[in-house]
Chain length 349, copies 2
């Protein structure tokens, strides 16, 4: 049985009379309070009963009327992983909107899995937040159905996979950023330009490298697959792959690193090999974390407006929960912009 | 009327029969359910009634029996400010323990005030978390009484003020860290050693500078007040005060910066003045944020085990909430340690 997707359920409810809680209880052969308990994520329901009720809720595209759902003054914010300073910018953006609205932020980490665990979804159902923001993470179909049946809206921030047109999401113009970073290097006179990408399963990282390729091709420069390394957005990858790129016989004179942490790893690789930045090697990052201004030399990078994106995601998810304020677009990409500092210059003669 | 402090209330409850909810209701001239509403942070109670009930709860050192208080699977984590990477380490530590215990973390920022707002305390009372962890922040007496009367334990992490002996808290050996940083510079041969401290209202920042002084004095070196600047733990202060220190006629050959972000600001000041690190200037930070390894040159710093401290705070607050597991010590200082990297060396000849 294919579970209802959010938008689908919305349509269903408008076009035909939705099943009531009492009808679902009757069909499941349980009492209405038992169905309520399942909806509220209570633990005192037998697993088999719970599964049966959830299936019927999904099959009927049931979703709780908003007035029924006494919501807690909370927003759930779920991270794929809480590593980097990246996460901090997002937390601050969501926290800002939450504070303005008198809400608190519940933080979870899906601990490296790209969809948060089942227990997590039950907990969310039990605490009934105003909305859920997923960072670089997505829900599986049953989790979506679970949130939809409780009228808990959700928004994906900077999707790693392809969230589908029916999932509200906020991103940045990653492809455009890859173009701007690479074009800047081309304009400085670089011809051999390397790239260290993020993981290829993340759409944002593919988009950045595609932008890099497009800039090279439109400038009439060859794309050398030897100069493109697949990283993982961590400092260590920038260091390791940086050494690979820089130790070759015909090393690049510039590298676009896909994010700032990999740029810092590349800085370390350059230091180890005695290469000066920008005299021997130009480096462009992506993100514009606070640290980009503080390293030596200050890093030229593509600014991703992380805090503003997080604010936009928080506002969108709250709007989705308000019957009276239908949001306009449910897929928004905020613009990236190149910030030129001191890590880029003309190629060595 | 002096409100009961946590430990005090504990003693009171053990040594004499506590007032019941019904008795408090009678004395306040309201119904028992109204007292319950106040305890649960419900909004539908007249402000005057609420104040009267809160006063009686405090006067009687009332606190809700644990079995009465159906707690939510949450831990509250309150930051003074969410700036720096510092916060991220703490969040990760608390999140780790929370995940192990099946709890979620609610994050708030007291937005620059050193005690979180009154509304915040009401929200916490309403959501009934397992405990509250305050980072560089403290509660006023009425907030303490409010949490105590709801049996919501709290722990202060790395207290900024003096939390008092009756407040459970986790810190680090800041003074010892200041000694280790400065002694390292003395052993390298430095004589003119400057310091950029954090704000003097924070005990941790006072302790670090006191350690610096103690190390100089025990080495028989003079303490020059001109070489001690009061910063605020931000990058900008490190830069600004670094320029002040380095532009003087008899500039220091080494600086202990109080934290890592100020060290990065000092790096920038040195770059602007054409001073090389460590050839012309040695720098020691404090914290050992991830970025300390990534800057050029990698920063010698005092490692503060932030994640472990946050884990210890989370475990302590959960233990405080368990009748069956009385925690041993309620003031713990985890050890700091010097991490020598490449930003320190012998003074210029």
């Amino acid at each position: 049985m294919k579970p209802a997707k959010p938008v689908k359920a919305e349509t269903t409810q408008r076009s035909m009379r939705a099943a009531t809680l009492a009808e679902i209880a009757r069909e499941a052969g349980v009492s209405a309070p038992t169905v309520s308990k399942v909806l509220n994520g209570r633990a005192d329901v037998a697993p088999a009963t719970r599964t049966r009720v959830e299936e019927l809720l999904r099959a009927y595209g049931y979703h709780r009327r908003r007035s029924e759902a006494a919501r807690s003054p909370l927003i759930d914010l779920v991270f794929h992983e809480l590593e980097s300073a990246w996460a901090m910018e997002v937390i601050r953006g969501v926290e800002k909107v939450a504070r303005d609205e008198g809400l608190s932020v519940v933080l979870s980490e899906s601990a490296g899995r790209l969809t948060p665990g089942r227990t997590w979804a039950d907990q969310v159902a039990a605490r009934r937040p105003h909305g859920v923001i997923l960072v670089l993470s997505d829900l599986d179909d049953s989790q979506r159905a679970l949130l939809t049946s409780r009228s808990i809206p959700f928004v994906v921030l900077d999707p790693a996979g392809d969230p589908g047109a029916d999932v509200p999401s906020i991103g940045a113009t990653n492809w455009q950023g890859g173009v701007a970073a690479t074009r800047h290097l081309v304009e400085l006179g670089h011809v051999r330009i390397g790239a260290i990408s993020g993981p290829s399963r993340m759409m944002c990282s593919r988009a950045r490298v595609d932008g890099y390729r497009a800039a090279l091709e439109t400038a009439g420069l060859p794309v050398d697959p030897e100069l493109i390394k697949a990283g993982n957005f961590h400092h260590e990858a920038g260091h390791r792959l940086g050494l690979e790129l820089l130790r070759g016989p015909d090393r690049p004179t510039a590298v676009f690193t896909g994010n700032d942490l990999q740029a810092l790893g590349l800085y370390e690789a350059a230091r180890e090999l005695g290469l000066r930045i920008p005299e021997d090697l130009s480096v462009v990052g992506f993100d514009d974390l606070p640290v980009a201004r503080w390293v030596g030399p200050p890093l030229t990078t593509v600014r991703q407006p992380l805090m503003e994106m997080a604010e936009a995601a928080a506002r969108l998810v709250l709007d989705l929960g308000r019957a009276d304020r239908a949001p306009g677009a449910t897929r928004v990409e905020l613009a990236t912009s190149l910030v030129v500092r001191s890590s880029t210059g003309a190629p060595p003669a």
